[in-house]
């Protein structure tokens, strides 16, 4: 079967999911199946088919599974958000439309994505500049103690880290393509470990510093782990030197340890991570209330969950039981309602997407394409790990979004652009010579 037909068939589960999901929420809400659920399903399917036709025309050879996997995640996210707040779901659907427009724009504008390399320094400077915005007075704002967002009053709110991650990957892919040989060959052996040459390794050290700075200045553990992890992943693929990764991990570990024990606000976050059920921390402002209730929500879910629309999010007096259910805590809501199995299914869907991204990287015929595909896929995987890890207490919680599922305009738009880039790489890689 041709690739594009496989993609079309792959969209069927997504449309079924969105229809069944809305039907489930409706039945739970009103004990009646409204035809609105079918309308939502049909509209969503229409959007996906439009995107599919666009891909069919512009990128006929691209990976056929990537877009359906994204559609499954996005439709599932839409249902979850609808279940939490119907108004937000409408906004999310609008963001999805805007995201698809930018998705199409990216594909049209960067048919030859390799020209991105020419702008790599502009891209990296803009990306880093964006990251600092949340700390600027007037437009930046803090959520949960971390400086994650930019708010232009009356216009929009956006999270620069979502955009910056793509810019950084483009820069690193290009930079490492140029220096990978030097990094390997110019290295000196010391005690059996290959030490990279300092000159070429400089920018890498800069990014290490950047990750630490993000942690200190923005208090954003999540982006810090995401960017640094992405860097190490690309460095490893580019050089095939485990020693670089080990050195990198050790440097990060020392940095995290030092900051975690010496910077009060980071130490406080580590404390809430280690002792979320300590009553004092639980009741403290910016304490462990959110993490603890994420755990309670998961405990309520059990193996199979309580069912769509049944998770408790608010208190009878109207108070908040689970803060930020549509963004940071959406994984906890999913686990509460669909249980361990539902949550695992979501994680496996992400893993399948990442697998397709890596497959694309392996098929790519030039180093830049390979590194770009690896970087983008790894970044997405790390983003999932950071937020789900935070909710499940594997690592301290930071508010990054669960890609395609969480409510958030910048997230859905940026991640659709990320998919567009992966599809561009894939189309070139799979095009018959």
């Amino acid at each position: 079967m041709r690739a594009r037909n496989r993609e079309l068939i792959g969209l069927i589960p997504a449309s079924l999911l969105v229809t069944a999901g809305f039907a489930g929420v409706f039945i739970q809400r009103q004990n009646a199946l409204s035809n609105v659920s079918l309308t939502y399903g049909a509209l969503f399917l229409g959007l996906c088919i439009a995107a599919h036709i666009f891909i069919r025309i512009t990128l006929p050879h691209a990976d056929p599974y990537m877009f359906p996997l994204v559609a499954v995640l996005a439709s599932f996210g839409l249902v979850m958000i609808y279940r939490i707040d119907a108004t937000l779901a409408r906004q999310q659907a609008q963001w999805f439309v805007l995201g698809l427009i930018l998705f199409a724009g990216t594909i049209l504008l960067f048919r030859d994505y390799r020209k991105l390399e020419q702008y790599r320094y502009i891209i990296v400077i803009v990306s880093l500049g964006l990251l600092v915005l949340p700390r600027l007075p007037g437009i930046g704002y803090a959520a949960n103690g971390a400086y994650l967002g930019v708010r232009i009053p009356g216009l929009f709110v956006f999270q620069p880290a979502e955009v910056s991650k793509i810019g950084l990957v483009i820069f690193l892919a290009s930079y490492l393509r140029d220096t990978r040989q030097v990094l390997v060959q110019g290295g000196r052996r010391f005690l059996g470990i290959t030490l990279p040459p300092l000159k070429q390794f400089g920018p890498v050290i800069v990014i290490w510093g950047l990750a630490m700075a993000i942690l200190v200045v923005l208090s954003d553990t999540g982006s810090s782990i995401m960017f640094y992890g992405g860097l190490l992943a690309m460095l490893y693929v580019a050089t095939n030197r485990l020693s670089f990764v080990v050195i990198g991990l050790m440097a990060a570990a020392i940095g995290f340890w030092y900051l975690g024990t010496h910077i009060p606000h980071i130490h406080a976050r580590v404390e809430t991570w280690l002792h979320p059920l300590n009553p004092e921390l639980y009741h403290a402002p910016l304490g462990s209330y959110q993490v603890a209730n994420a755990l309670f929500a998961q405990a309520a879910g059990g193996l199979f969950g309580e069912g769509f629309g049944r998770a408790a999010l608010t208190l009878p007096n109207g108070g908040v039981l689970l803060p930020a259910p549509q963004t940071d805590m959406i994984y906890a809501v999913i686990t509460d309602e669909l249980g361990l199995f539902g949550a695992a299914a979501v994680l496996i869907t992400y893993l399948l997407f990442v697998a397709r991204g890596f497959k694309t990287a392996m098929l790519a015929r030039d180093s830049f394409s390979t590194l770009l595909a690896v970087g983008l896929s790894a970044m997405l995987a790390l983003q999932v790990f950071v937020i789900v890890g935070g909710v499940t207490r594997v690592i301290p919680l930071t508010g990054v979004t669960l890609p395609f599922i969480s409510y958030g305009g910048s997230s859905i738009v940026a991640n659709l652009v990320l998919v567009a880039l992966l599809l561009l790489v894939s189309d070139r890689a799979r095009r018959p010579a």
Partner: protein, 477 residues
């Protein structure tokens, strides 16, 4: 570059596996621990969303029901309020507080939540609890309330043949409606259910136990003669009869009829600690009665040491068994225990397990559980029970209990008037224990009053018992 990509993917798979492991940890392995964490209000929310079943009296009077509250939750209301507050208790889910049957019958009232249904939570609809029918009799309970009005004390009535509790009323009571049950009940703790938790000096009502031990052990008969002179020395301290009256040689029956202290003190000493303790245990002393009521709200009946301030170990050589034999010597009892004593004698020596719940009915009206009468202990031989019954009949016929006489009914009873407060004070704890009709009793009753200024069991407690007996005996005829 394909090798590193594959290995990198392996690392990502491992990271995701870690996420699934941690999700399993919270959803399955540590779920119970998290759900029981006091910080977790979800359990409470679930509780609020359960429509608990009703609690009803034996005749169907609603004692507790659920009413819709804000945000899809339910609240409890108690139509009879203070009348049944001690028996029914309260359940305030928002605070996680409960008392009385609301606490002890909660598994029924919340509906049976099996482990399976909590795992397959979404397969079962929102739970509706079962209704609990009690054995309580609203008319008799009201009679107790009226008769006891103005006195701190308690009334408890049991059906001796089944152990069903018909009346459980304690004064002061409280209103179990509202967010703060018992708020503003003054210095006396109105939340204390005096029937099950009150610690009273039984006084002469305990002579029923002494007589049982004496006769059932074969050491005495109801006609055994003992010298009733006063005072005598018991455990090195002089003991007098009421008014220091010297009765001379008298039968045990006469000693019971006129409540002669010196005779029963000698009998108890002669029967001995071991035998007395054995019979007390058979009646239920030294342990919590197995009532379907919160264990934390049930007191133990036993003698206390005035020197250590702790209960004597059963049969302790330090206890003054002579004085215990007449309901003194540090002995403190619950009214429920004394009603169980009367019940055992009335039921031919067999003590039935006391219970408040009669049956459990599911929302479809199907009876899912019926509480069958069970034997708690065989206290004495039927012949002993007959002898003690005859002695107690005499008390009402011509002795200290004539105040409860009712036309057409033979009542077997025993008065008690314990001296409390500093020596020389006039304060007493009047008590009356009885069962009726004497030969085939329908009711065993204990009435105990906290404090009286010179009042007697016969004058303060017995009239209360009479009022309640009149209602209970007139029913079902």
């Amino acid at each position: 570059m394909n090798g590193p990509i594959v290995r990198l993917f392996g690392v990502i798979v491992l990271l995701f596996a870690l996420l699934i492991v941690f999700t399993s940890r919270w959803t399955v392995f540590e779920a119970a621990k998290l759900q029981n964490n006091p910080l977790n209000v979800r359990t409470l929310l679930d509780e609020l969303q359960i429509k608990r079943g009703q609690i009803l009296a034996a005749d169907g009077t609603v004692l507790a029901r659920s009413v819709p509250a804000a945000g899809n939750t339910w609240a409890r209301t108690y139509p009879t309020g203070p009348l049944f507050a001690h028996a029914v208790g309260y359940s305030i889910a928002t605070k996680g507080e409960a008392a009385g049957l609301e606490e002890s019958a909660a598994p029924y009232l919340r509906g049976l939540q099996t482990g399976l249904s909590s795992i397959f939570g979404q397969l079962s609809p929102r739970p509706v609890g079962d209704d609990v029918y009690t054995t309580l009799d609203p008319n008799a309970q009201r009679a107790a309330q009226q008769a006891l009005a103005g006195e701190a004390g308690s009334v408890v009535a049991i059906d001796p043949s089944t152990g069903a509790i018909k009346v459980m009323y304690a004064n002061p009571t409280y209103n179990d409606n509202g967010a703060n049950p018992g708020a503003g009940c003054g210095a006396k703790d109105c939340l204390v259910n005096r029937v099950t938790q009150g610690q009273y000096a039984p006084g002469s009502t305990f002579k029923i136990v002494t007589a049982t031990a004496a006769i059932d052990s074969g050491m005495y008969t109801e006609n055994s003669v003992v010298n009733g002179n006063s005072p005598i020395t018991v455990s090195g301290v002089p003991l007098s009869n009421d008014g220091d009256q010297s009765w001379g040689p008298q039968t045990l029956t006469t000693a019971m009829t006129y409540s002669i202290n010196t005779i029963f003190a000698q009998v108890a000493e002669h029967v001995g600690r071991a035998t007395m303790t054995k019979y007390m245990k058979r009646f239920g002393f030294y342990s919590k009665p197995p009532l379907d009521y919160p264990s934390g709200q049930i007191g133990i009946s036993q003698p206390w040491s005035s020197t250590t301030g702790k209960p004597f170990p059963p049969g302790s050589p330090d206890e003054d068994i002579g004085r215990i034999g007449i309901g003194e010597g540090g002995l403190l009892v619950t009214p429920l225990q004394m009603a169980m004593v009367a019940s055992a004698v009335g039921d031919n020596g067999t003590l039935m397990t006391p219970h408040l719940i009669a049956r459990v009915v599911d929302p479809d009206g199907v009876t899912v559980k019926t509480i069958n009468p069970t034997v708690y202990s065989h206290v004495m031989k039927p012949s002993t029970a007959q002898a003690v019954t005859r002695m107690m009949e005499k008390v009402v016929e011509e002795g200290t209990g004539i105040t409860v006489q009712m036309p057409g009914v033979t009542i077997a009873g025993k008065t008690g008037t314990a001296q409390i407060g500093p020596s020389g004070s006039n304060l007493t704890q009047p008590a009356f224990v009885a069962f009726a009709p004497a030969q085939h009793p329908k009711v065993a009753i204990a009435v105990m009053v906290d404090e009286s200024n010179g009042g007697y069991g016969a004058t303060v407690a017995a009239p209360v018992a009479k009022a309640v007996l009149r209602v209970l005996l007139s029913e079902g005829q």
